[in-house]
């Protein structure tokens, strides 16, 4: 028990100390916040997708529910952001209940398809309504939280860290609980699980509710952090896919996999987006800047990160379907 707790405690200590070590560096802190955010989102998704085996392709709906509810409440009143966050959880929970009622009667292909349809309906409704800001989105000019300086990124770093610790803690609790074993039984063989008296719909819904609530909390944090949201940023299918991808690359159905996935993918995306790679090739003289290749890299490499995501997904499914952590597992399992 003691031995098991050492590594998480060390990781947590590193997590807490990092902002003190790097000082006020908004750029690096921003990347770290994104790492923590994707890790939390992928971990929350993992409770449903990894442990219960129910691959949701629509988790952006819960992220967006948290983000939009929080922003709408904060833009019309001076409510405590924590209350707005709780309201977001309630909205996400309601969407999850409706989704669960429809999709958990279905299996295989149908579940994935239905989860996309629900998320797309949420996106289009938000896009077409008045009070959600429509295509313009919502901008929040000022927000107060117990006198914290919210122009600094550090409060959000710690906020995301708390969300991640909470999510990993809940995952650790769930997987060793009765519910956790039920979920894993459902993942391995639904019919066998049902024949042993496990209430499939009840436990799948429970996993979805936990997963959706945590996702919504991250959505609220993100909204207050960026202070601007629109459907493209928080409700897009692309976000749902990035969440799954992060979990898959790290290792689905493992406690630490999603964190590993985020630590790998987010910096990679950032390197591509900021075009560090293209500039390095040019400055080291490997590609002359004025050549057609150099021009092409300079202009387009920044847009190529989704392409690289696609390539990684294909390679990962073909050669590494159990993720990076799957490599280190005993081969018998």
């Amino acid at each position: 028990m003691m031995k098991q707790a050492i590594i998480p405690a060390l990781l947590l200590a590193v997590g807490v100390l990092i902002p003190l070590l790097i000082g006020e560096n908004p750029y690096i802190t921003g990347i770290l916040i994104t790492v923590l955010m994707m890790a939390t989102l992928a971990s929350a998704w993992n409770i449903l997708g990894g442990y219960a085996g129910q691959y949701s392709f629509g988790h952006a709906a819960y992220f967006g529910a948290g983000a939009y509810t929080t922003m709408i409440i904060l833009s019309v009143s001076d409510t405590n952001p924590l209350v707005a966050m709780a309201a977001g959880v309630v909205v996400a929970g309601l969407i999850a209940l409706v989704t669960g009622a429809i999709v958990f009667r279905l299996r295989g292909h149908y579940f994935g398809l239905a989860s996309i349809a629900v998320a797309e309906i949420v996106r289009l409704v938000v896009l077409n309504l008045e009070f959600t800001g429509g295509a313009q989105g919502i901008l929040l000019t000022d927000v107060k939280f117990y006198g914290l300086d919210l122009n600094s990124k550090n409060p959000f770093y710690y906020g995301m860290l708390i969300a991640l610790v909470l999510t990993l803690g809940i995952t650790a609790l769930v997987r060793r609980s009765r519910t956790g074993y039920y979920l894993q039984a459902i993942r391995e063989d639904q019919d066998a699980a049902a024949s042993l008296g496990i209430n499939l719909a009840y436990h799948k819904n429970k996993a979805l509710l936990i997963s959706a609530s945590l996702t919504s909390v991250v959505g609220s944090l993100y909204a207050v952090y960026i202070r601007f949201i629109d459907t493209h940023a928080v409700l897009d299918l692309r976000l749902s896919i990035e969440i799954i991808l992060t979990a898959i690359i790290g290792g689905v159905g493992t406690l630490w996999g999603p964190l590993f996935g985020a630590m790998l993918l987010v910096p990679l995306a950032e390197i591509l987006r900021s075009n560090v790679l293209g500039e390095a090739l040019v400055t080291h003289g490997m590609v002359p800047e004025s050549s057609p290749v150099g021009m092409f890299l300079k202009e387009h490499l920044a847009h190529a990160h989704v392409l690289v995501y696609g390539i990684i997904t294909v390679l990962c499914i073909l050669y590494l379907p159990k993720g990076i952590l799957g490599l280190f597992r005993r081969s018998g399992k």
Binding site: Y110, A117, H300, L307, Y309
Partner: protein, 289 residues
Amino acid sequence: MLFLQSLISGLLTGGVYALAGIGMSLVFGVMNVSNFAHGDLMMLGMYMAYFVFTLLHIDPYISLVLVMPAAFVFGYGLEKMFINRVIHHPHQNQILLTIGLGLIMSNTALLAFTSDPRILTTSYSSSSFNILRDVSVSVPLLLSFMITCVITATLYLFLGKSRTGMALRATSQNREAAQLMGINVSRMSAIAFGIGTALAATAGALIAPTYYIHPLAGHSFLLKSFTICVLGGLGSVVGATVGGLIIGVIEAMSSTYISTDWKDVVVFVLFLAVLLFRPQGLFGKKGGQ
């Protein structure tokens, strides 16, 4: 009159949707794979028609003679290289693999063709004629619909009468039994995916003269194709044909009577309603879910 107008334009567009739906349904039936790259294959068809038109000055409808075989070969190769390796994997891996392939296609298109939408303007792009006093029929839509009918009829004949067609249907009904009867099922999968790709690209080429051509255009067609398949029953070719027409009409009706902004919502709500009340689809066999 408004009603008749929406009905006619809905049916004409629905025919093209049906073509994309049939392609997806065939792949699903034979391979039991949900192809999430289907919309992007359609997008490739749009660009193929566009470039054949602008570079070779060949009419988009005649360009099908080039687009269809090219797309078939592309799909056949795609199946042999990628899809075929996950055919016995869990559904989620197949979905993710095809999503990955779709992302590669759409983002390569984004790099190669930029995000500026392109418009394919033919001499008859905006021409139409009146059949009744206020009911007009768009010429490009009517042409697309007629070509769709010919292709669908040919496909029915092919599936019903030819040896390969029968082998495809046998594989779709029971893969193992088909294999025991000496059918090369992995070749059938590649052929099915090739035909599916060809149909998607054809639908893309047919819709190109009346639509914005954009690297991310596939996204909305993907979800539409799924709705069509689920409505008709996953794997049913007849179902997909009817499903496509229904979706076309519903879309046109909701644009007319509700608003263009909400037409996709109506389609998705219908999709969920079908899953909820008749998951086997209108023409699917019971127990398929």
